[in-house]
């Protein structure tokens, strides 16, 4: 039995240092998974392996919708199905907000201009920034930029959305608006894997929470179990450090 995203014995080395020490994880279609853990635990590396922004060991395997995530022709297909939202937004600064959202559908899906434009405007309305469509990203606040980045990822109509600490680079007053957009997405059937430090958000939205430390998954389960009644001492230590800061 394998999930929509299937991660098998995922290992990764930086030189001699083993960042990921054999991770097995099955994620169901439509599931929302939050990955938590101390910095350096490998959680960002884990989700960057799912669309192969990071290479991983030969004896590991990741499948998305049954397709192996290996370099080569199938990789572009996987990447078109897997959207990603980055901590630092990574919007294209030379394109307007609308053009940012239109680019991938136009180039990868060959969507006609008018259709791509209509779709972009629809998505920008959905994330609440329709009126900024003609501006360049640098004129937007961090929260607005991150919402554009989400719209840009959604434009490819991905089956899976990866979020790599999407609110960590934001001023505190802008975290809420981005989490609201993500919360609305969680109900739409798209599979979401979210690396986050927002425990409140994780407990409300996640179907499962994964606690990672030292390149291993230490605890997996529903949020009230992992966040509410953690079994592992290291999970408990981490949570008390995060919640009592």
């Amino acid at each position: 039995m394998s999930g929509f995203v299937s991660i098998r014995n995922l290992r990764k080395f930086y030189g001699d240092f083993e960042v990921l020490k054999g991770i097995d994880l099955e994620i169901e279609k439509g599931e929302v998974v939050c990955v938590i853990g101390p910095s350096g635990s490998g959680k960002s590396t884990l989700i960057r392996c799912i669309n192969r922004l990071e290479d991983f060991s030969e004896d590991s395997a990741i499948l998305v919708d049954g397709i192996h995530v290996t370099p080569g022709r199938s990789l572009a297909r996987v990447r078109a199905e897997v959207g990603m939202v980055f901590q630092s937004f990574n919007l294209f600064p030379h394109l307007t907000v609308r053009e940012n959202v239109m680019l991938a559908p136009r180039r990868v899906r060959r969507t006609p201009r008018a259709a791509a434009r209509a779709q972009a405007d629809r998505l920008l309305a959905r994330v609440g920034i329709a009126e900024q469509a003609d501006k360049y990203p640098e004129l937007l606040s961090g929260g607005q930029q991150q919402r554009v980045a989400i719209a840009r990822a959604l434009a490819m109509e991905p089956q899976v959305l990866l979020f790599d600490e999407p609110t960590s680079a934001l001023d505190p007053e802008m975290v809420g608006e981005v989490l609201d957009v993500m919360r609305a997405l969680a109900g739409t059937g798209v599979t979401m894997v979210i690396v986050t430090h927002e425990m409140g958000f994780a407990s409300q939205v996640a179907d499962r929470v994964i606690f990672m430390d030292g390149g291993r998954v230490l605890e997996v389960g529903p949020p009230d179990q992992v966040l509410g009644a953690p079994q592992e001492p290291r999970t408990r230590n981490f949570l008390s450090a995060v919640l009592n800061h």
Partner: protein, 223 residues
């Protein structure tokens, strides 16, 4: 004869002006075509230098280093006077254009490389994550941003190419400098030389000023 009559003789200037204009036209043609060829060559070289398989990458590096080391004048003389010995006979214009664009291409390649390397890694990652191919990433995302960064150094390089066109006069190219020296011999007066120098200045000084302004503006924006 006074200084003015010697160096800024109006009568000689008027008489030799048509020659200078003819030379200027040749200089501009040579400059423009060499700049263009150098840009195309440089962009191609920078791609090979950055992204090709390692043997090609290595060759591109050697090319770039060699042609940045060799004096343009030496290269020009080799192309014009040495190549005929192996049966390659190029006109003065083609010889000059070849030498100038081979060298300009090497410099341009380094400029493009620096421009591309200045683009944050996140731009490549966002493109990859969206499913763009390497080629689409380059054309739609990286180059449009890199070109803004490289316009000042590219303009600088273009100024150098136009200045170096004057070297073509040694292979009997009827460029601005050659016409001026001939006119000087004809008129037995150095005014045409001064005229040529002023024409070079008139064309290049504004460009130099423009580069300075662009550099100041880009510098200010980065902060």
């Amino acid at each position: 004869m006074g200084i003015v009559e010697t160096f800024l003789n109006a009568e000689v200037f008027v008489r030799t002006w048509p020659l200078l204009v003819k030379g200027l036209w040749v200089t501009l043609q040579l400059g423009a075509s060499s700049i263009l060829a150098g840009l195309v060559l440089g962009l191609g070289l920078s791609m090979v230098r950055l992204y090709a398989l390692w043997p090609l990458r290595f060759l591109a590096r050697i090319y770039i280093d060699v042609f940045r080391s060799i004096p343009v004048l030496v290269l020009l003389i080799v192309v014009y006077y040495a190549l005929p010995f192996v049966g390659i006979r190029l006109s003065p214009f083609v010889s000059a254009m070849t030498a100038l664009s081979l060298v300009s291409g090497a410099y341009t390649a380094e400029i493009f490389r620096a421009g591309i390397e200045a683009i944050p890694r996140g731009q490549f990652e966002a493109s990859a994550a969206l499913g763009l191919t390497a080629r689409q990433t380059m054309i739609d995302v990286i180059l449009p941003q890199a070109i803004r960064v490289v316009i000042p150094p590219l303009t600088n390089n273009s100024i150098n190419v136009v200045k170096d066109t004057a070297l073509a006069s040694v292979v009997a190219m009827p460029d601005l400098l050659k016409q001026a020296t001939q006119a000087q011999a004809l008129a037995a007066n150095p005014t045409p030389l001064i005229g040529a120098a002023l024409i070079y200045l008139a064309f290049l000084w504004p460009l130099v000023a423009l580069v300075t302004r662009m550099e100041r503006r880009f510098g200010a924006r980065r902060r």
